[in-house]
């Protein structure tokens, strides 16, 4: 930008254009200011639209239920935590939605499956990255190809196998399903990060008598810490956000938060208070993670795609 500006200035201050140089400069300044304003306005609109729906529901959750649906919308109100209290403390069951139970399940299954996924995927990714053996390329591709499977299309296979294993409607069953779904992407992602760590470091450690496991734990792991975080967050979010598998593989015991959408609207009316509180709770971790991890999001998504 600067180079072309300088060149333009050189050209426009040549004798033939000298008289209008000042006017052109001012005109350019105005257009630039106009351009900047337009950009600000558009981005502000985009940002507002992106954030508003969630913000509105969150606001609803701290209003009294009668204020929450008041039209024209009440922007000045007395905040109250009664909706949260109802669903978390009292364990209120609104329209047969036991939010507290769903929340506990989501947390358990989310953290549990993520932990196992990362450990298992790390070993696999390390093997693909460090060992040269027959079929390593094909295996890597095959692992990634399983990600192409549409989740909804897996409901018949999943239902069959979980039922056979006796894991229908269990935490273990759903957790294993998430492990199977998450592992390919986690392996691919971790392998990318591992490939960035030079093998010479481990070779040097080996000379000093370090075993593979030790060098993995003491040298490699700290170096790929951001990658581990990113992979963990992705895995957790996938388990936290999943609806399809949870819908098909659970009945009463292992229901997770996303399933709340099946129940809040009934003939009696809409449970606005508990519902908005539940939605806010359910959306909090994803938003939190986006804010914390945004630096790594682009890296994880475009690994290998952008040749920078």
């Amino acid at each position: 930008m600067k180079q072309s500006e300088t060149l333009e200035r050189i050209w426009t201050t040549s004798a033939a254009r000298a008289p209008s140089a000042a006017r052109t400069a001012t005109r350019r300044r105005i257009t630039r200011a106009l351009r900047a304003t337009l950009i600000y306005l558009t981005l502000s609109l985009a940002a507002f639209l992106s954030v508003f729906p969630v913000l509105w529901i969150a606001l609803m959750s701290i209003k009294r239920p009668v204020d929450a649906v008041a039209l024209p919308p009440k922007l000045i109100f007395a905040p109250t935590l009664e909706s949260y209290e109802a669903i978390l403390v009292q364990g209120a069951v609104a329209s047969s939605v036991n939010i507290r139970g769903y929340l506990i399940n989501s947390l358990l299954i989310g953290f549990g499956s993520t932990l196992v996924t990362i450990v298992v995927s790390l070993f696999a990714a390390y093997a693909l990255s460090r060992f040269r053996f027959r079929g390593s390329g094909l295996l890597g591709f095959a692992i990634l190809a399983t990600r192409m499977l549409p989740p909804i299309a897996t409901i018949v296979p999943m239902l069959l196998i979980m039922n056979t294993l006796g894991l229908y409607d269990t935490h273990l069953g759903l957790g294993l399903a998430y492990l199977a779904v998450n592992a390919p992407f986690a392996v691919w992602m971790l392998r990318g990060f591992l490939d960035d760590v030079p093998k010479e470091l481990e070779e040097a450690a080996a000379i000093d008598g370090c075993s593979r496991i030790q060098s993995l734990r003491l040298i490699v792991l700290p170096l790929i810490a951001p990658g581990l975080m990113a992979a963990s967050v992705y895995s957790f979010l996938l388990a936290w956000n999943d609806f399809t598998l949870a819908l098909v593989l659970t009945a009463r015991e292992a229901k997770t938060l996303p399933l709340m959408v099946m129940s809040f609207f009934t003939a009696e009316g809409i449970a606005w208070g508990p519902m908005s509180a539940a939605v806010t709770i359910a959306l909090a971790p994803p938003i939190l993670f986006v804010l914390v991890m945004q630096r790594y999001l682009a890296r994880g998504l475009t690994l290998g795609a952008v040749k920078g």
């Binding site: 992106s50 909804i152 196998i161 592992a183 986006v290 952008v306």
Partner: protein, 293 residues
């Protein structure tokens, strides 16, 4: 000793392979086998072999074609809009205005949210009587619209919500791409007298083409499996089944009608569609890479 060495990588891979083979490969092969049988546990507890009968039944099912039509429509509309808006936002964020980080963060929010709960949240906003959107529309004179209850609005409603949720994905990737464009070709073009528009069209865009292909491919693959959001909105196929997409069709066949064999067959049809699109984009991608060599 040598044998043990050779085994090591497989040992490290064993857990992942066990899980994937047991919970992915085996069930999918079982499904393929099942798709050749008619099995409705409510009607015939013993599966009956029908060969390609299920696939033929699907191809002869008017509902399937409705679902397919809706899926294609939804995919084309949402992916196009997502791309245009996402790329546009990326271009705006690639300028050097202040507060970029704030805008980028704000625009990223919809991306990682739970799709089914996004459906529920928008259901509240788009509620025909009590929803905020209709109140605003009434206030500005356009008047309330039947977002949730009218079948003619169904696909529009789903499109709006899905575009809202997935624009950040496109924006993020295109922004990363824009920031990685090498500066030398751009500077060279400018020195030669090219306008900013010409630089963009002839230097930046061609360089970004592979990335654009990848973004479009991912969005298409994920759009054709739409399911969560629609269920978040209607807990089913929508008013007069206007929201019937292939995913919902599959779910209904399995959980409502208990046609497990047919469901397995639909799974493979959906898989075939996904592979077809992936191949199309991958081929275009590689052809593009070949051209630029």
């Amino acid at each position: 000793m040598i044998a043990r060495r050779a085994l090591t990588p497989y040992l490290w891979l064993a857990p992942v392979l066990a899980v994937l083979l047991g919970l992915m490969v085996y069930p999918w092969l079982w499904s393929l086998y099942l798709s050749l049988y008619r099995w409705n546990p409510l009607k015939n507890p013993v599966p009956a072999f029908v060969g390609l009968g299920n696939y033929l039944a699907i191809l002869g099912d008017a509902e399937f074609y409705t679902a397919l039509k809706n899926t294609v429509l939804l995919t084309v509309i949402t992916v196009s809009l997502e791309f245009v808006l996402g790329f546009g936002l990326a271009l705006l964020l690639n300028t050097n205005i202040r507060g970029r980080a704030f805008f980028r963060t704000a625009c990223l929010v919809p991306m990682m949210l739970t799709p089914s709960i996004v459906g529920l949240a928008w259901k509240v906003l788009l509620h025909d009587e009590m929803g905020l959107v209709n109140w605003v529309l009434g206030a500005v004179g356009i008047g309330p619209q039947p977002w949730m209850s009218s079948p003619s609005y169904t696909l529009l409603t789903v499109s709006i919500i899905q575009v809202w949720q997935h624009v950040p994905f496109v924006m993020l990737i295109m922004l990363a791409g824009l920031q990685a464009v090498p500066t030398e070709p751009m500077e060279a073009a400018r020195v030669d007298g090219a306008s900013e528009w010409q630089v963009f069209w002839n230097v930046v865009l061609p360089w970004l083409k592979p990335l654009i292909m990848i973004v479009l491919m991912f969005r298409v693959i994920f759009a054709i499996r739409s399911f969560d959001t629609i269920f978040g909105l209607w807990q089913g196929a929508g008013p007069v089944k206007a929201g019937l997409v292939v995913g919902v069709y599959l779910y209904e066949q399995v959980r409502v009608f208990w046609e497990l064999g047919k469901g397995a067959a639909i799974s493979y049809v959906l898989l075939a569609l996904t592979i077809a699109f992936s191949l199309y984009f991958t081929v275009r991608l590689y052809r593009g890479l070949e051209d630029s060599r």
